[in-house]
């Protein structure tokens, strides 16, 4: 993985840049000490590390605006950073770039129950939003497994999902408004407490933009009333095929569960050994299906899902009898990543999405690749929407294992695309999948996306080197060759 060559000229001006930052952000908000910078040397994709030029932690939109204006005028790159839990290297620092951390933007600004929304600063954690409204029975629906730590700004930048996204949508479907600062320091507000921002849907475009278009300094999200009740089924299957069939059959029956997650045998074992959720160990695949809503509906649907599970060959079925038991079912799934972390020194987490009916096929391919590369793999996924998270186990101390793990991962993602899926369902492209973009997109597709970036950031100073494999200058992207001539289509009917 290659990053753009750091600009030696910028690095040489480091002292001057640090001083300029200190003039904007007083006190401890500017971190320049090499030891302290280490805390920012990577995000959740720990295979790639590097020290930033300097870290700046502003506290106000005005400061962000002044920082960006300075950077724009002085041709200095910036890397926005939330909580640093991203899994694709989106917040990977660069030696010639300022890492702009939003951690101090940690206040909830307004809770508006009547209009069913919350206004928060971007550094507020995902879970803190739910905590702020749960006393009134509300919650914030998208719930990434990292929700204790990840920031709402990061969620917007990645368009993060969670186990409840199947029924309640991704971040994009739950954001109403935001404030952002453009690279030239201008502050723009989009949307608010109303629906559909009007004009081009820049709110939608910013969501999932991976810190390439603007720095998000405020977010308005929808809050929903908690469902009356929720119950979960734990269903074990003798094969991945039968589990995959069950998922397809549930959706095919017109049931959209609150969550539908799957784990394969290695993931079941790792989780069970870690949290002792009581998972059956003699099955090949495990599904957790959660139904939520009114009591009457949940009871009705639990019965239907149970019978679908039996018809598709379930070997084990348990229905949660209490909320405590339901949470125990989830504890294994929610801790699957750390559980796998215990059985391997390192792991890479993949994130492709595939059509649901290809689940078993893709798992077979993954297991063949696992043998080919000689690396173990554990699979957990958001089965309801076909979003896979194969965890590739390796040891970074063994120099060629990282390389092998990366090749293995790339092969999985290529296969996902081949069967009609995509490279990333929720973790983003970042640097990790950047060089695979060509698997999904033509050169023209990518250039058109990059032209959108040029509209926001013509100097390409915001998080460059991420998402797109080739940097083109905006002037070059904007060039257009036109052909003059007679209406050349005798075939096209005219009226």
């Amino acid at each position: 993985m290659r990053m753009p060559e750091p600009d030696a000229g910028v690095i040489a001006r480091r002292a001057e840049i640090v001083a300029a930052m200190r003039a904007i952000v007083p006190g401890e908000g500017v971190i320049a000490d090499a030891d302290e910078l280490k805390a920012y040397d990577c995000d959740g994709l720990m295979a790639y590390k590097g020290l930033p030029l300097v870290v700046v932690l502003p506290e106000t939109t005005r400061q962000v605006s002044r920082i960006l204006k300075y950077c724009d005028a002085n041709q200095i790159k910036i890397v926005p950073r939330g909580a640093g839990t991203g899994l694709s290297g989106g917040a990977l620092p660069m030696a010639d770039a300022i890492t702009l951390g939003l951690g101090k933007f940690n206040r909830i600004l307004e809770i508006d129950f009547d209009n069913r929304c919350v206004v928060a600063q971007p550094g507020v954690t995902n879970l803190a939003i739910t905590k702020a409204v749960e006393h009134a029975g509300f919650y914030y629906a998208p719930d990434p497994s990292s929700q204790i730590a990840c920031s709402i700004g990061g969620n917007v930048a990645e368009n993060s999902g969670g186990v409840h996204s199947l029924k309640y949508g991704l971040t994009a479907n739950n954001v109403l408004g935001l404030e952002m600062v453009l690279m030239d320091g201008e502050v723009v507000r989009l949307g608010g407490k109303h629906l559909d921002a009007g004009g081009y849907d820049l709110l939608g475009v910013l969501t999932g933009s991976e810190g390439l278009l603007g720095v998000i300094t405020e977010v308005t999200v929808r809050s929903l009333q908690k469902p009356e009740t929720a119950r979960a089924l734990l269903v074990g299957f003798p094969s991945n095929e039968s589990a995959g069939n069950c998922v397809a059959a549930i959706i095919g029956a017109g049931i959209i569960p609150g969550g539908m997650e799957m784990m394969d045998k290695p993931a079941i074992h790792a989780s069970e050994n870690f949290v002792h959720a009581g998972y059956p160990l003699d099955v090949q695949a495990l599904l957790i299906v959660e139904l939520d809503g009114p009591e009457a509906e949940v009871d009705h649907l639990i019965g239907r899902v149970e019978s679908i599970a039996r018809q598709t060959g379930a070997a084990y079925i348990r229905v949660s009898q209490s909320d405590a038991e339901r949470l125990v079912f989830w504890s294994g799934r929610k801790n699957a990543f750390p559980a796998v972390g215990r059985i391997s020194p390192d792991y890479l987490c993949m994130d492709g999405t595939i059509p649901r009916h290809k689940l078993a096929d893709v798992l077979k391919k993954i297991s063949a690749l696992s043998e080919h590369y000689g690396l173990r793999v554990a699979n957990v996924f958001h089965a309801g929407d076909g979003n896979l998270h194969p965890l590739i186990l390796f040891d970074a101390n063994n120099p060629d294992e990282l390389d092998k793990a990366e090749k293995f991962g790339a092969d999985i993602l290529r296969y996902c695309v081949k069967v009609g899926g995509v490279l990333t369902g929720e973790h983003g492209v970042g640097v990790e999948k950047r060089d695979l973009m060509g698997e999904m997109f033509t050169e023209d597709d990518m250039k058109q996306q990059q032209r959108l970036k040029c509209a926001f950031d013509p100097g390409q100073l915001m998080n460059p080197g991420k998402v797109y494999p080739t940097l083109h200058r905006c002037a070059e992207l904007g060039r257009m060759y036109v052909h003059h001539g007679k209406l050349p289509f005798p075939d096209i009917p005219r009226f």
């Binding site: 994009a172 479907n173 109303h194 849907d201 926001f456 052909h483």
Partner: protein, 411 residues
């Protein structure tokens, strides 16, 4: 009369746009033409009639998506979905009648380009939330695509969001993929009668903020209610607030009971079953309760305001008074349809001031061409946002040949 080109496939669309870009000839992009009156009125360019790009390509009910050519009639799509007990959950409004045309004349590409939504917007979103991917020709005369057929996809910028609601000003979509979902087994509507607008907004907030999974909440003041084809609603003789619940049978019955209990004491309560519910929500969705263009003796102008739900009645009541109009509320009060007596300026300054105070945006949906040529149809943008909009237009359509001016002057 202006000329029209009728390409029969994406390759011919490409040819046409390339030529137009070369000549600097503006094109008016037409799906089926049902919403031609939507947007700023500009000198019509050469028509680019996409009706030759029609038909469902791939429909995979179990994968919950459908791919169709851009000008596939909505009616054809809806019929195919009905056969599998599925639907487009975003319930796109059919604006044909509002513009004085026939029902069911819209195309899927048009619904997406206008980012249509319906009463279920509050729960499941608009076209933008269900639009998974597309293939298109940019104003540069290049084919490009974005997205895919799966719901969870964050690979690259989400250009689907950008094209939804861009009114054909950035690219000509040739093929679109969108999410489809199971149709509800049952629908019921709880009616609360006789509420003043502000009290109705509070009542709708109670319902939408409850655990009863309300899928829509609308309020019809007396005049609008009186135009309904549903006898319970028209016969009420006063304002009607409607709360919809959908889902599996036992659940719907339970929630309906719970809602009646919750709203007890707010006003007299009635209940509509599936058929009447469908009829009523269709009237609300299409804003036909304000009277169609043909049937409306005054030829009133129609605004659509999106505001914070609790601010809806305040803004609307003042405007209705000042502009001799009447309002109809959807989205729990957050969507206000405002019909006013026609005036040359469409009362735009007053409307915009009210929206600015409430927070939100307003669109002049129906007015005569000469009015829509003068009065900004879409919410005017703050300076920097306007510049961003212009730059995005430049990035997709540098020669300004795709529906130029349809949204904003010079864009």
């Amino acid at each position: 009369m202006t000329e029209t080109l009728k390409p029969k496939d994406a390759a011919q669309v490409l040819e046409a746009v390339k030529w137009a870009a070369g000549e600097g000839t503006p094109l008016e992009i037409l799906g089926r033409g049902s919403k031609r009156g939507f947007g700023r009125a500009v000198e019509p360019g050469l028509g680019l009639d996409l009706s030759g790009l029609s038909g469902i390509g791939r429909y995979e009910p179990n994968e919950l998506f459908m791919t169709a050519f851009a000008a596939t009639p909505m009616a054809e799509i809806e019929a195919a979905l009905r056969q599998n007990n599925q639907q487009m959950a975003f319930e796109p409004a059919d604006l044909g009648p509002l513009f004085g045309g026939d029902e069911d004349r819209g195309s899927i590409g048009g619904a997406i380009a206008c980012n249509l939504a319906g009463p279920r917007r509050v729960k499941v979103g608009a076209a933008r939330d269900h639009f998974l991917g597309f293939s298109a020709v940019s104003g540069r005369g290049e084919v490009f695509k974005s997205g895919g057929t799966v719901v969870k996809n964050v690979t690259g910028f989400d250009l689907s969001k950008l094209l939804a609601g861009s009114f054909g000003t950035l690219a000509v979509m040739t093929e679109v993929t969108f999410k489809v979902l199971p149709a509800p087994e049952k629908t019921r509507t709880v009616l609360v009668l006789g509420l003043p607008d502000a009290a109705a907004a509070m009542t709708m907030a109670r319902a939408l903020g409850s655990a009863h999974e309300v899928s829509s909440a609308a309020h019809l003041p007396k005049a609008a209610a009186g135009r309904s084809q549903v006898s319970y609603v028209a016969g009420a003789g006063r304002a009607v607030t409607a709360i919809r619940v959908e889902g599996p049978g036992p659940s719907v019955e339970h929630r309906c009971r719970a809602l009646k209990e919750l709203l007890k004491g707010k006003g007299e309560i009635e209940e509509l079953h599936s058929e009447n519910s469908q009829a009523l929500w269709r009237e609300i969705r299409d804003a036909t309760l304000l009277g169609s263009a043909n049937g409306d003796p005054g030829g009133r102008q129609v605004w659509r305001l999106s505001v914070p739900p609790m601010a809806g009645p305040g803004a609307a009541e003042a405007l209705a008074r000042d502009l001799a109009g009447e309002a109809l509320y959807d989205w729990g009060g957050g969507l206000v349809w405002l019909a006013i007596a026609a005036r040359p300026d469409a009362g735009h300054e007053k409307v915009r001031a009210a929206v600015a105070a409430a927070g939100g945006h307003a669109t002049l949906v129906r007015a005569a061409d000469e009015v829509r040529a003068r009065v900004p149809v879409f919410e005017p943008q703050a300076a920097r946002l306007g510049q961003l909009t212009a730059r995005i237009k430049q990035a997709f359509d540098p020669k300004g040949v795709l529906n130029p001016g349809r949204m904003y002057e010079g864009v």
